[in-house]
């Protein structure tokens, strides 16, 4: 037997980062406030998790406007999609026995 958790990605140990990714997999862009409300987070907390995902280049940020109001949105990168899929595959392999 081999270590069943070795292939899990440390970045996705966090439920919040997992939640962000799961949302970005199906929505090409999501706004900061939408994420904040959906995941019920303080802005500081959300911002720091987003920063972790950005550092890993799993997501990228778009600073734009709605009318003349600033609007920041996030989207998943190809690398992020790959890494997320790999993580889910590892998870599934781990629990396929069920």
């Amino acid at each position: 037997m081999k270590n069943p958790i070795a292939d899990l990605n440390k970045i996705f140990d966090s439920r919040i980062r997992l939640g962000v990714m799961s949302m970005l997999v199906v929505n090409k862009e999501i706004g900061f406030n939408d994420l904040k409300q959906m995941l019920e987070l303080t802005d500081g907390n959300l911002a720091s998790h987003l920063n972790t995902l950005e550092q890993a280049e799993f997501i990228k940020v778009h600073k734009g406007f709605i009318g003349r109001k600033t609007n920041t949105t996030y989207s998943i990168t190809d690398l992020g999609r790959q890494a997320f899929k790999a993580h889910l595959d590892a998870l599934e392999k781990m629990i396929r026995k069920l």
Copy 2:
């Protein structure tokens, strides 16, 4: 939309506890050393994660012998099986979109 991470169980945020549970789901009993080797952990670290799972009554411990040598094994409880399944269901719901 509703918060996609709200139904995840905090106890299973840890990859190690997730690994332990995934092993106990398919093996009715696993020894301390087997867990330790499989998950590549120090005994202190493993013991404390096992303790967390025990406190939650997700696993139970059996102190026995192999011959005249002490042997501690762990098994999943009904509650543990339920909770683990609920967690996996929540995870799956979160990512079914893929």
